[in-house]
Each structure stands twice: as structure tokens, then as C-alpha cells.
Symmetry: C2
DNA sequence: GCAGGAACTGAAAATGAATTCAGGACGCCC
DNA sequence: GGGCGTCCTGAATTCATTTTCAGTTCCTGC
């Protein structure tokens, strides 16, 4: 069925991007990974640009979905879980992070992508704002700058992790340490 | 003179990367920007890969040099100046940041580049460690995690800035705010 | 003043990837 | 069973870019 195939192609795109980056994003490669012919890519997505755009939207959505998962714990624990969930040796997590990282880098040169990235990031940061507010209580410090600090830090640490400068565990520790410094502790 | 020309070509590469990214890094484009023929690029650098490698080394060095500039102010002011100097509407600063950003993204897929990035980053972070130590005094908190926090935050904010999510001035404010939260103030 | 080498040019050839297209398979309705 | 539309294939073609190379300029030492 067609919808199924489209989905299979898009997740193949994500794997190809995670493995070889945007520069290694070849239609031949995607076709092989998805187990379809190269012509089918054109049939469904028009051309390379169309495929790439759909793939990046897909990456963007996957990231948004991953950021859901409410949970029943108290706010500080939920917040720390949300922030540290970006790092992990799990193949799926790393693939998603790498793809998202590529999308972010590419958005510097593409206003359309930049808009999509900005929207996703703003949603995510808003969720952090609310969890920070809940964690610190109504009398606590202004949550906005804290949320900016925490989310931008996740992105910075993610770069360090993906380039092998630190491990996923060290990134998580650094994240917890930062949260503690702004008054947020899981225990 | 040849050395002069090489330098001219490499700084043309940096401008091309800043303008169009690694994906838009065309030899024709570099040749035009540098005002030389395309054949000369091959003469000096062998092939596209050789040129790109030299260009990224050059970006790396430029970034390292930019991080120098000691100054005569007290340690906290020097530290904040070092951290906020990454952001600015100055064309040179933005070009350097964009190029460095591309290098960092590309290093995810290239172990050699990752090593170079890691070395530069470690040097920079070490300078931050020392300024943090000086700022907080010998009885102060452990400077290492603070330096990791501050430098990773610079990288995260840089991504936000380059994708148009925040302005350079907002990035600087966020940086000063973060420094204040870990006990470092310019005044 | 000329032999030789380094710096440099630009157009032709090679390469590598995207796009196009003629057609095959399959299911569905009449 | 035959027409028809959707999904799909893969080889031929086109296109963009890099690589190569024959040749020019200009300097330097003899």
C-alpha cells in the first residue's frame, strides 16, 4: 500500500541522513535502504528536493513526538527526564539526534527549514517553561530565561556528544548539574 | 607570490562556506571569490577534498586565534567578553561562526575533523576554566563543570542565533544571565 | 638572451548523481 | 475478460561539477 511505502521511504531517509549526513543523502542510497526503486522516489516525492523536504519534516515530527511522553512523576523529575532524553546510546535516539542536528545546521541557509526548526524548538522550550514554573513554584524565578538556558544547553551538549567529545552519560550528568544550579533537582 | 595566493584562496573558502554552507562549496565559486582560475585550486591543493580540508583547518585556526585577545580587565569581565565575543552582527564574526558551525556539523561524520574540533574546543574550554577559577577565587566551586556549561551554552545559543531564532544581542544577554547564575558578574 | 621552473589559465574530458520515461504488474470495476 | 488507474521498475538521458592537461606568463640563474 502506498501510504505504508511513503512512510518506509521517509524512515529510510532518516537512517541515511543519520549515517551519512545531508551531504551523503543520495537517492540511490535511500532507494536501497527502503528497498524500492529509484523511480518510486520520484513518483511519490517529485524530485530530490521534494524528498528531502518531506524527510526533514518527518525528522522534525519524530522529534516533536519524542518530546511528548508526560509521565506521572513530580515536575522536576519530568523536566530532567525530558532534557536528558535527548542523549542515549540507543540507536534510535542517536539517529534522531544526528538527523535533527543536520536539520538545524542546514536551516542556517534555508529560511523555510529555519521556520520549521524554530516552531519545533519553540514548542519544546514552552514545555520546558511550564515544567520549570511548576518545579520552582509561583513565587520562583522567571522561568523563561531558565528554559532558554536549559534548552540551548541541551543543543550545545548534543553537539559535543555527537562529535565524540563527551559521552551520552556525561551529557546527562552535565544537564542534571545545570538544572541543579538553577534550583531544579529530581529528588 | 604563492603563499599569499594560498591564503587568499583559503579566506575565499571561508567566505563561500559562510555564504552557502558546505553543501554550496563549489570550486568555481571559490575560484571566483578568490579571483583565480579553477585550475589553480588544483595546483595548490590537489583536489576538492584537499581544498576543503585546508579550508576547514583554516576555519579552525581562525576560530582559535579569535579566542585569544587577553585584555587588561578583571577576570569576570574578561570571561564574559570571551564568551559573548562569539555573537555579533559584525560580518566577520558571523562568517566565522557560520563556518565553525558547519565544521562542527560536518565533524559528526568525519573522525579527522572531529579530532581537530575537539582539540580547539578543549583549548577554548581550558581558557574558560582558568578564567572561572580566577573569577570565583581559590575557595570557589569546581570550575570544570561550570566551564563545560558555559562553553556548551555558547554553542547552543550560537545555533539559535544563526538560524534566526534569537538576535546576537539576546544571545549575549542570555550568556551574561547564565554567567550570573553560576556566580560570575562583570561589575 | 635563453634554459628551466614555478605560478597560473581555461577549455575539454570524465565523473557521479538526478531526472525522465517506456513499460510491467496488480487490483478493481463494468 | 478487458479497460483503467495506481503503484512500481530500471535503464537511458541529462545535468552539474570536478578533474585533467596542454599551454601561457613571468621570474631567476647562467
Amino acid at each position: 500500500m502506498a501510504e505504508d511505502t511513503r512512510e518506509r521511504i521517509l524512515s529510510a531517509c532518516e537512517r541515511v541522513i543519520a549515517r551519512s549526513g545531508l551531504r551523503g543523502f543520495r537517492m540511490q542510497e535511500v532507494a536501497r535502504e527502503a528497498g524500492v526503486s529509484i523511480g518510486l522516489l520520484a513518483y511519490h516525492f517529485g524530485d530530490r528536493d521534494g524528498l528531502l523536504e518531506a524527510a526533514l519534516d518527518h525528522v522534525n515530527e519524530s522529534a516533536a513526538i519524542r518530546a511528548e511522553a508526560p509521565g506521572e512523576q513530580p515536575a522536576p523529575a519530568r523536566l530532567i527526564a525530558l532534557l536528558t532524553s535527548e542523549f542515549g546510546d540507543d540507536e534510535g535516539i542517536r539517529d534522531g539526534s544526528v538527523a535533527w542536528n543536520e536539520l538545524r545546521a542546514s536551516a542556517v541557509f534555508d529560511a523555510g527549514q529555519a521556520r520549521a526548526v524554530a516552531r519545533s524548538t519553540a514548542d519544546w522550550q514552552q514545555r520546558v517553561v511550564e515544567l520549570v514554573r511548576e518545579s520552582l513554584g509561583p513565587q520562583g524565578a522567571d522561568p523563561e530565561p531558565i528554559a532558554l538556558l536549559l534548552t540551548a544547553l541541551v543543543e550545545g551538549l548534543s553537539g559535543r556528544w555527537l562529535t565524540g567529545q563527551i559521552t551520552a552519560a556525561q551529557a546527562q550528568d552535565a544537564m542534571r548539574d545545570a538544572a541543579a544550579r538553577v534550583g531544579i533537582r529530581a529528588d
